[in-house]
């Protein structure tokens, strides 16, 4: 940063905008007072206790985890074979097919949510879990296809051909050669998918029901009615969970590698 006063100032300003609001949430979570004010009045853990004892938050947390796990698994199950077909097969209109699988990144999530609300929940009388599972899986498919695709594209197909040439069956080749090549990509895609599903608001908001509501939606609802430090405590718990995921990501593959696949 030395000798770069303008660039340095802009960069510092950028970091302040990204990080400082998060620090404010954390600091107000530890207040002993009753109001969400700054500076906090005294230090205590009472709001963490209240957040963890508040049944709507706990129930919604379990719903969010359940939805994130199932939709991530489904997206990988559907998306990884698509990646294999795109990267290794000879299919006509390859870029068109890839474009189709990436298009959920471009279409606004509210559009997808409203479409599924009208057609799956109202039209087909399905539960909100079914609609949410479809919606979230659609949203995650681009990660499953693109991020695993990026790791497969780096691997030389000759390795697989060699395995076949040495007499391995297609199935054996897949499990002992292709799958290990794919593993880092699948790991990255799974991690990004889980986080994306867990944090999603637009789809989860439009497709919620009284029986099934995710944590972010419940928190949005809560803050409209009561404005107290419990919401800051719950946010801080989510932050702590996210930090754990980030550390796992950094220690296993590295951030740059995990996020590198998105922007190609």
């Amino acid at each position: 940063m030395k000798g770069r006063p303008i660039l340095g100032t802009l960069a510092v300003l950028g970091y302040i905008i990204m990080i400082v609001p998060i620090l404010f949430v954390v600091s107000t979570a530890f207040t002993a007072g009753d109001a969400l004010t700054f500076p906090p009045q005294g230090v205590s853990l009472r709001w963490f206790g209240e957040a963890l004892a508040y049944q709507p938050f706990v129930g919604a947390l379990l719903s969010s985890l359940q939805l994130a796990v199932v939709s991530t698994a489904l997206a990988l199950l559907l998306g990884v074979p698509v990646t294999l077909a795109i990267q290794r097969g000879k299919i006509p209109g390859k870029s068109l097919v890839e474009g189709l699988f990436l298009s959920p990144l471009v279409v606004p999530e509210l559009v997808v949510g409203l479409a599924l609300y009208q057609q799956i929940m109202i039209g087909l009388h399905q539960t909100s879990f079914v609609a949410l599972l479809v919606g979230h899986t659609v949203l995650l498919l681009p990660y499953a296809v693109r991020v695993t695709g990026a790791s497969l594209a780096l691997a030389d197909p000759a390795v697989e051909e060699a395995a076949r040439g040495l007499g391995a069956t297609p199935l054996r080749t897949f499990f002992s050669v292709t799958l290990p090549l794919l593993r880092p990509g699948i790991f990255s895609a799974g991690l990004l998918s889980f986080v994306t599903s867990f944090n999603n608001v637009p789809l989860s908001l439009l497709l919620q029901s009284r029986q099934f509501r995710t944590l972010p939606v419940t928190m949005l609802d809560y803050v409209q009615q009561s404005y107290d430090p419990m919401i800051a405590a719950m946010s801080t718990l989510i932050l702590a969970g996210t930090v754990v995921i980030a550390i796992v990501a950094e220690k296993t593959l590295g951030f740059a590698k995990i996020f590198g696949g998105i922007n190609k």
């Binding site: 000798g3 000879k90 959920p104 409203l114 009208q118 659609v138 986080v195 989510i238 980030a246």
Partner: protein, 273 residues
């Protein structure tokens, strides 16, 4: 395996067609219990109605401001980190990317604490004697803009970072060795060569900012509606499918127009350079 790619493709293809492409198309063009003509009539009406026009204009304005701000703040971070020899550069990069993993709701709550009526910023102004009363900062366009910059800046940093990292640092040294100043090197070498990445950053941020829901909902309230919050209110409060579809169509067209424009620019740049 390569002989039967269709078998691998079909389950995913069926899912994305029936779970995404077809429902979205139906919702945009032929929603239940209304005609396509109604949707287009509402779409046309939006373009002349002052209330709707104000929402469209606010959405575009916020989108442009946030995009420019994210590139102007994100590029320096990316550039300084990509060219840094410090052993902490990796840590700083991780710190810039980390917010992407964190819930939008959590990130946006921070602004409630800062900008709210009991918030830190207002109190600070009072303590410093700048104002007597904490100013109304929440539920303003400024609040939405700040919230969206926070949300999308990490995305701009990643795109710019991978673009700058691909520009050989040797070119910087060569330009400097030939007598260019630091700012000449930046403007004549680094920025032109990383333009595709900057363009991607801008497109991603614009698309995200104009369609985001949580931030305008929490920080803009009902007085500062954007297309997304308006769409949600048509869908869930007034249950006006034609209006919801028209608004959704407007939002989708806006995003498609901008990403189309950006790929046009990058293709043109690719031909000339």
């Amino acid at each position: 395996m390569s002989r039967k790619p269709a078998l691998l493709l079909i389950p995913g293809l069926v899912f994305i067609l029936f779970g995404f492409a077809i429902p979205s198309a139906i919702m945009l063009l032929a929603p239940p219990s209304t005609d396509t003509a109604d949707v287009f009539a509402r779409f046309g009406a939006m373009l002349t109605d002052p209330y709707d026009l104000a929402i469209i204009w606010r959405t575009v304005r916020i989108g442009v401001i946030v995009t420019v701000a994210c590139v102007v703040l994100g590029f320096p971070i990316a550039y300084l980190l990509a060219r840094s020899t410090s052993r902490f550069a990796g840590m700083w990069l991780a710190l810039a990317i980390f917010p992407l993993l964190l819930s939008n709701v959590v990130r946006t709550f921070g602004w409630l604490v800062i900008l709210g009526s009991q918030g830190a910023f207002g109190q600070l102004l009072v303590v410093l004697g700048i104002t007597d009363q904490p100013p109304q900062l929440l539920y303003t366009e400024l609040a939405i803009v700040l919230g969206l910059i926070q949300l999308f800046l990490p995305l701009a940093v990643i795109s710019c970072y991978s673009a700058v990292a691909q520009v050989d640092a040797g070119l910087d040294h060569a330009a400097r060795g030939l007598g260019a100043t630091k700012s000449q090197t930046l403007w004549k070498i680094v920025i032109p060569l990383s333009r595709p990445g900057i363009l991607i950053a801008g497109t991603l941020v614009f698309a995200g900012a104009t369609t985001a829901y949580t931030t305008p909902y929490l920080l803009g309230g009902s007085s500062q509606r954007m297309l997304s919050t308006q769409l949600f209110s048509y869908a869930s409060v007034s249950v006006d499918w034609a209006a919801a579809s028209a608004t959704a169509l407007m939002m989708t067209l806006l995003v498609f127009m901008v990403s189309g424009l950006s790929s046009l620019i990058s293709r043109k740049a690719g031909v000339t350079s």
